[in-house]
């Protein structure tokens, strides 16, 4: 029985590959799979898929798509689902790529089988096979989406924690966005690493871009300050907005023993003073001002 089932499929695919492709493409167009991708691209992918599919079914293995002979088919599906995930197609749209192949295959099988029993078993085999491929596509789609999300998360983390060198021995960390424990960890690590790399003795933490400072955020900030101090660098917190200063006082948040400044410029002035430097107005600038 197992050998009998699936005998028709290889024959159909071999004999009528072009017909299948045309009909399949038409169905894909109708269901909107091709949206967002060029028609040629879809045609090429479908052709590749059918070719791999035809080759794979010739081996007689219609039950296990993890087998090596299905490698090229899996490859095409990987491409389709990854590009679907990137181009914002829904999982259903992506899976329809495979599922829309069912109809052309079924009509051909129906027209070729003589008795009901063969028809039923043939349809069952093909249906199971296509379902497997469809599930595989959805799984890959999901993986593709997860990759996108992970990459974005990493990007955001890295983007949001740049440590900039202001002068020899002075680094600044402009914080943007809410501070949670995970981000504090990253912020702290980057800050400490950059303190070592730049041989910095003063670090300015600018919180202009931090929307709210509650007790938890203050605690995180103090942790970073304490860690920097252990490495031998002094921290100045700058960019405390008036509202935030008020909120902090209302909440009873105290940043004791940490120097706070309203703007990063003030903090930089203090940092220069601590490192025995000063900014002077040159003669030419003074002249220009007088003129």
């Amino acid at each position: 029985m197992q050998n009998d089932a699936g005998k028709l499929l290889p024959e159909i695919v071999r004999s009528d590959e072009t017909g299948l492709l045309t009909e399949w493409l038409k169905l894909q167009g109708a269901s909107g799979v091709s949206r967002g991708t060029s028609e040629e691209d879809v045609r090429e992918k479908s052709r590749d898929f059918l070719r791999g599919f035809a080759e794979a079914v010739q081996h007689g293995n219609l039950t296990d798509i993890d087998a090596p002979e299905w490698e090229s088919v899996r490859q095409v599906l990987t491409d389709v689902s990854k590009s679907g995930a990137r181009n914002g197609l829904t999982p259903a749209q992506t899976a329809t790529f495979v599922f829309s192949l069912k109809q052309p295959l079924f009509t051909r099988i129906t027209s070729k089988s003589n008795d009901v029993e063969t028809l039923a078993s043939e349809l069952w085999t093909v249906s199971k096979l296509i379902d497997q491929l469809g599930l595989h596509t959805t799984e890959l789609y999901q993986k593709g989406r997860e990759e996108v999300i992970n990459r974005q998360q990493r990007d955001i983390l890295e983007l949001s924690t740049p440590v900039v060198k202001l002068w020899d021995g002075i680094v600044a960390l402009p914080l943007i966005g809410a501070l949670d424990s995970e981000r504090t960890q990253v912020v702290m690590e980057t800050l400490l690493e950059q303190i070592v790399a730049n041989g910095a003795s003063i670090a300015i933490i600018d919180i202009t871009g931090v929307p709210t400072v509650d007790t938890l955020v203050a605690q995180h900030l103090l942790k970073a300050v304490a860690a920097a101090r252990l490495m031998g660098a002094e921290c100045i917190i700058s960019g405390v907005r008036p509202q935030i200063a008020q909120t902090m006082v209302h909440l009873g948040v105290e940043l004791h023993e940490v120097l706070t400044k309203a703007t990063i410029a003030d903090a930089f002035a203090v940092a220069l003073k601590r490192t025995n430097r000063k900014v002077v107005v040159t003669d030419r600038a003074a002249e220009a001002q007088r003129a």
Binding site: I195, R229, M231, G232
Partner: protein, 131 residues
């Protein structure tokens, strides 16, 4: 293991302790003992403790560092801990040990600067008193 001692080197009026091995608790206690003895014997004015080679500092070692600093201060010697690794600093903060009262510096050179500066300050103070 009990025989392991951390060498204490003299650099002018200061002492240099470079911890190059993973300290166990006994070694740390021994260091504390030795150091206080040497400070008194040599009349040292400052102590530099270099921990740049330490990858792991547990709460006990962290506390010992604090005790060493406090003891030295009573014996009129400044303690500066230098070269702490970022990971160690984070661990200590997470453990709630921020080593208050211990001065820190990025490297030995900076640590030496701090000791010299405070030495200068204290000598000028004395001069002022005389005048």
């Amino acid at each position: 293991m009990t025989g392991q001692r951390i060498p204490i080197l003299q650099l002018g009026p200061f002492l240099l302790v470079s911890i190059q091995i993973d300290m166990d608790d006994q070694t740390a206690v021994a260091l504390q003992d030795d150091l206080s003895n040497v400070i008194v014997r040599k009349g040292a004015r400052g102590v530099l403790i270099d921990i740049s080679a330490l990858d792991v500092v547990d709460s006990f070692i962290g506390r010992i560092l604090g005790t060493i600093a406090a003891t030295s201060r009573i014996l009129d010697a400044q303690t500066v801990v230098v070269g702490m690794q970022p990971s160690v600093a984070i661990t200590l903060v997470e453990l709630g040990l921020s080593l208050k009262g211990v001065r820190t510096a990025l490297n030995i050179e900076r640590g030496m600067d701090i000791l010299r500066a405070s030495e200068d300050e204290s000598t000028t103070d004395v001069d002022d008193d005389d005048a």
